[in-house]
Amino acid sequence: MAPAQVLQHVLTKYAKELLPEWLQLQLSGDTVRSDLMREGELREQSREFLSLLAQAAVTGTENLSGTAWTTIKEFLAGISRSRALQGFSPTETAMFVFSLKEPLFTRLRAETPKDAEALASSLWQATVLLDKLGLYTAEVYQKNREEVISRQQRELLELSTPVVKLWENILALPLIGTLDSERTQIVMQSLLQKIVETGAAIAIIDITGVPTVDTLVAQHLLKTVAAARLMGADCIISGIRPQIAQTIVHLGVDLSEVTTKATLADAFLIALRRTQAQLPKALSG
């Protein structure tokens, strides 16, 4: 048998034997995390991996970018995602692949007892292959972690800018801190959603606590006001400091269609009048 085919041969012929040997090695290792995954699930993942590996290896193991390797890569991506969610570390996840080396090498040695060259080349082939697959698993894990983190950040943003009900029909959104484009969009969308939920007629967007406003943020603010109007509510922007007013004018942003007030209190009074609410004696004096 040509040296190049030894690996394929072993994977296909000894699939049944490799599974329990590999499984036992994984279970006795220190990256198994039996607190996170039951043995049955690990067995199933291992079995599937071996099967897919044998199938793909038949077409050659030099180049992993071909379509023959897509299925096993998708499988590994799935394992990486689910293990990340279960709480495995990147190392523990990649070890799933690397741990196959030992039982596989044992089999390769047994298969080529007299042919040193065939053994050497098949061992090399196997180690390169499992290294690539193990690294791939770690990469996918990393990307998934980044996605989870950015999603958590977004959710945190939503929670950190609560919309307040000031009065019947009047909402206020006090914005604090620097606004970037993404945060502004999320916050504005949640304001519009609150308007629908509470049936508020007026929403006051207060930017007293915002040090600077750039063009993108100003545009998002204006689009939010326009969207609220389309929906049937109205917006007042309050807390525009002189510096921000200058920036806005310099940026060429047109605020003529929007009611603006210097303070939240002023905006609140206007809102009360517009919604023709009963003013308590103290305020209407």
């Binding site: 969308q189 519009l192 969207a227 389309l230």
Partner: protein, 123 residues
Amino acid sequence: MDRIPILKLDDFLLVTIQVDMHDRLAMQLQDDLTARIVAARARGVLIDISTLEIVDSFIGRMISNIAGMARVLDAETVVVGMQPAVAITLVELGLSLEGVRTALNVDKGMALLRQRTYEESRI
């Protein structure tokens, strides 16, 4: 659905757009509304789009047409229940629904229509 049902609420008519509209259905709705406004002597039309996840220029045109036709018959049109994602998209799209007032829900829409009726009756 063959035709969009039209409900009568006091002096007003309520139409709920729930399905994907196409030309035939839109024409049918406009015809039916014209007839009902006259028959019921309705002073206003409420178009409920609260279940519409997409409003494109076709729907926009249909709403404008309905509003125009209703105005000729001395009825005012109010669109209610626009979803936030739809509103944001329409702003981006540049569609402005000229000549059509909007309200957050049917109750507020009716209040808007009643106010106009009240104001006119005092002339």
